[in-house]
Symmetry: C2
């Protein structure tokens, strides 16, 4: 596809900032406007040349834009969509980067119509904010795009091309499939990391924190993620996350029973199946973030 002439980005955090930096690197002719709430941050954005213009008014931010990208927390998206709608040109498309999709699509389609196409670039970091943004955040990362029966095919093509241009590899699925999948591939690992830290570090003898080795560090890396952001994500995807947490809780209980029953064959079989699955994961692409 041809590069968009003008892109409006809502929310200059890790994701929004990285969208802007990736556009600067890959599509230098594209004009960027960034909407944010904090004037001092918007001033920094202008000063660093990350955007061509900055706005605190959503309708003004999308003026003349071909694509608007919502990169704010999911719970802010409905109000922003309602506020930007009057400023959108007839041909403009809107996408987002939220990590849950069913509720976002349900809320935004009525406000924005068939021009809205939900997306979830699966790139991130336990770090947050503009300071953590990187031009290569999306390079090689999967992006799940979630059209519905009400989506405009031309808008879908534009949005799909946009995320590809940032470096993503794109997969389509419907919003409920998306939420079920990411509850298990992303939200559950995050929930386990938060839970493991609280279980272990609350009960360790004082002075033994330095004994945490590689397996504990890896398993809990994402527990350093922004708690406000993750409370929002887990809450928005509540139904699927609750189901995934209960599946995991039952599986751990059954592991405990098998161990307590001194049934090493069943444990060995369980671990061997896991190793086989884990070994069969495709290697991350060399471009993928560490």
């Amino acid at each position: 596809m041809s590069s968009p002439a003008r892109v409006a980005i809502f929310g200059p955090g890790l994701i929004g900032g990285s969208v802007a930096l990736a556009l600067r690197a890959r599509s230098p002719g594209t004009k960027i406007s960034i909407w944010g709430r904090r004037p001092e941050q918007l001033a920094e954005i202008l000063q660093r040349g990350i955007a061509d213009s900055v706005e605190t008014d959503p309708a003004a931010a999308v003026s003349g834009a071909d694509i608007a990208v919502l990169c704010t927390p999911v719970e802010s998206m409905r109000d922003l969509a309602a506020a930007m709608a009057p400023g959108l040109t007839p041909s403009a498309v809107v996408t987002d980067a939220g990590s849950v999709k069913a509720c976002v699509v349900e809320q935004l389609e009525p406000l924005l119509g068939s021009r809205f196409i939900g997306a979830h670039p699966m790139a991130g970091s336990e770090r947050s904010g503009l300071a953590a943004a990187r031009a290569d955040l999306f390079a090689g990362a999967p992006c799940l795009i979630t059209p519905t029966s009400g989506s405009d095919p031309a808008a879908l093509q534009v949005v799909s091309g946009f995320w590809k241009e940032l470096g993503c590899s794109v997969t389509m699925m419907n919003p409920p499939e998306h939420d079920r999948l990411v509850a298990r591939l992303s939200h559950l690992p995050h929930a386990l990391a938060f839970a493991l830290v609280n279980l272990v570090l609350n009960t360790l003898p004082a002075g033994s924190h330095h004994l945490a080795g590689g397996s504990f560090r890896d398993a809990t890396r994402v527990a350093a993620s922004d708690p406000v952001l993750w409370t929002g994500i887990l809450t928005e995807n509540r139904t699927e996350v609750v189901a995934a947490l209960r599946e995991m809780s039952k599986l751990l209980e059954s592991m405990a029973t098998a161990l307590g029953d001194e049934n090493p064959d069943s444990i060995l079989d369980f671990l061997a199946r896991a190793k086989q699955h884990r070994d069969s994961l495709p290697l991350p692409s060399p471009e993928e973030a560490p």
Copy 2:
């Protein structure tokens, strides 16, 4: 302490091989004998200069040794200790590298007496075998040393100095404390990784494995570990691992309840506490294995 003149290593896998390579690098004057079961592997060890002598007879392997180090799976240690005992010189000390301690110490103290001092260098890899051994595996790694009221203080000093010489930072605790601690810091993270892989990869739609992002990859890295080794570790530390699995199972159920109850404040508090704890973990030393 002065470097040992002669060290006998039992089991030339990741840990035993790394002990030998670390001695070669840090204590070039020390003579190394390695006990193993497979003649072709012992031939490779001699050829690569990893040991000065190789043995398939445990008593012969410890002949003249100042220190014997058991680096085999935990379930082989009792038989090896019984078989090596007649060959030990009166001043020789024995240590091990097993990742559980109460059962090892209970089994080996009666066979070896006060000269046996249990140890657990917390270094490893999801890779196994001699091919994965590295001279710097122990550099900066914690080593938990588990003396009992029956331990000889001089033997404790020698064993402690030995692991320090390999690069470990040494912490003392009693064997049951050790098992309780590592069940939560190491065995539980491993069990969670195996469980998460089985839960998620069994239920994913075909062709979606490539969507696994950083949080899933990190949380499951150690599920690629050797299933036989880990069945042994989880089984040997059964009591504490079962307790830790049940604590985690209950915690996940309570997270599910809080989420289902739409109690975002309690979720936010839970995540914020986890982040605070996780952020307070000391950084791994620059020498620590990735």
